[in-house]
Amino acid sequence: MNKRDQIIEIIRQVSGKNLTPAPDESLFESGMLDSFALTDLVTELENKFNLKIPDSALNPRKFDTVELIEQNLEEWGS
């Protein structure tokens, strides 16, 4: 499973919705993520990719699309 598929799998898990968001689809606007699912998403990403995202980098906009999450994971060292 590539990184993008792993991200989508985590999004499905924390949202409880078995959907496949397009890479540039807003996860917030589409209703896949709310404030609390976002916190679960961050925790699961840290666990899955074995990284610690600093609080200062936790801008919700960085988690708005699968594409953005993938790009930011690179930046955070995954």
Partner: protein, 311 residues
């Protein structure tokens, strides 16, 4: 050494249901309950001020302590919703209590203000004497500003809480506290003069769910106290879903966190002391059992305070 002698609270009589608030912002009662755990909240009467509610809570606290008002040597009054820029409510509260020559200090901090007040009082009481910490909020006057924002309007209520901190006697001894502030997120939760409350809920929840458990864990670790040893967590009543996430992050059952948010909503800096006043009356401290306070709010300001019950 410092001790928590007694708590007090005041809730206005007017109950506002989810149906009522939902009708104003276009959502139903069940949705409000699902996203927040709130069933109803209290709103102050027209003309009832932050100072009025603070005075009620102060009198309740001193009555419960069986102490006279003139035994208070300092007031710390927290509010993020006071009616004017200055002076804040502290001096008016002191006057209303008949205290004309003690320092009365405002802590203009939403949500975390009463935790900061308790921590400061614990550090000062040995030299000052009895310090009454009050959190009082009239959030209704802020959330009713137009345009009403649904995510904000459903959350907040009015009320006041108080705690008497003393240098020599009380129901619990203060062990230690840890306070933190980070202005990087000050734009994410704010009220400009006369304007509606602005909240980036995603950022607030994301930061709170990480910072609160860390503050608690670090404080407990410093004192070799396991999370499982804590009898009760008394936290700022922001949102039941947030409390659940924090309990999960700490690995403890959600019911170890006292909660009254279903009845009062989020009363900002008053909420933790209102919860403590109710809990101490219904359950109360047990000798040797630690209790942990925690809060998070606009600023961001956050922290935790550890106490141990006394016989």
């Amino acid at each position: 050494m410092a001790f928590l002698k007694e708590f007090g609270s005041y809730l206005p009589a007017k109950v506002v249901s989810n149906d009522e608030i939902g009708a104003q912002v276009g959502c139903d009662a069940e949705w409000i309950r699902n996203v927040s755990g709130i069933e109803e909240r209290r709103f102050a009467a027209e003309g009832e001020t932050v100072c009025d509610m603070a005075v009620h809570a102060a009198r309740d606290c001193m009555d419960r302590a069986g102490m006279a008002l003139n035994e208070i040597k300092m007031l710390l009054v927290s509010s993020g919703s006071s009616e004017r820029q200055f002076p804040g409510p502290a001096a008016s509260v002191a006057k209303a209590l008949g205290l004309h020559s003690i320092p009365a200090v405002d802590l203009p901090m939403a949500s975390a203000g009463s935790l900061f007040g308790l921590s400061l009082a614990a550090r000062l009481s040995e030299s000052v004497g009895n310090i009454l910490v009050i959190g009082s909020e009239k959030m209704s006057q802020i959330i009713e500003r137009q345009p009403m924002e649904r995510a904000v309007a459903i959350l907040f209520g009015d009320g006041a809480g108080a705690c008497l901190v003393t240098p020599n006697d009380g129901k619990a001894e203060v062990v230690d506290s840890a306070l933190y502030s980070d202005g990087s997120f000050s734009e994410d939760l704010r009220v400009e003069f006369g304007a509606p409350l602005e909240m980036n809920g995603r950022s607030v929840i994301l930061q709170a769910t990480r910072k609160i458990p860390r503050a608690i864990s670090d404080l407990l670790e410093k004192h070799n106290c396991g999370v499982s040893e804590i009898g009760t967590f008394l936290m700022h009543q922001a949102n039941q879903n947030l409390i659940a996430r924090i309990a999960r992050a700490l690995g403890v059952a959600e019911d170890r966190f006292y909660s009254n948010i279903s009845r009062y909503g989020n009363t900002s800096s008053a909420s933790m002391l209102i919860a403590a006043a109710e809990w101490s009356k219904a359950v109360g401290f047990e000798a040797g059992v630690p209790v942990c306070f925690a809060a998070f709010g606009a600023g961001f300001h956050w922290g935790a305070l550890l106490v141990v019950g006394r016989a």
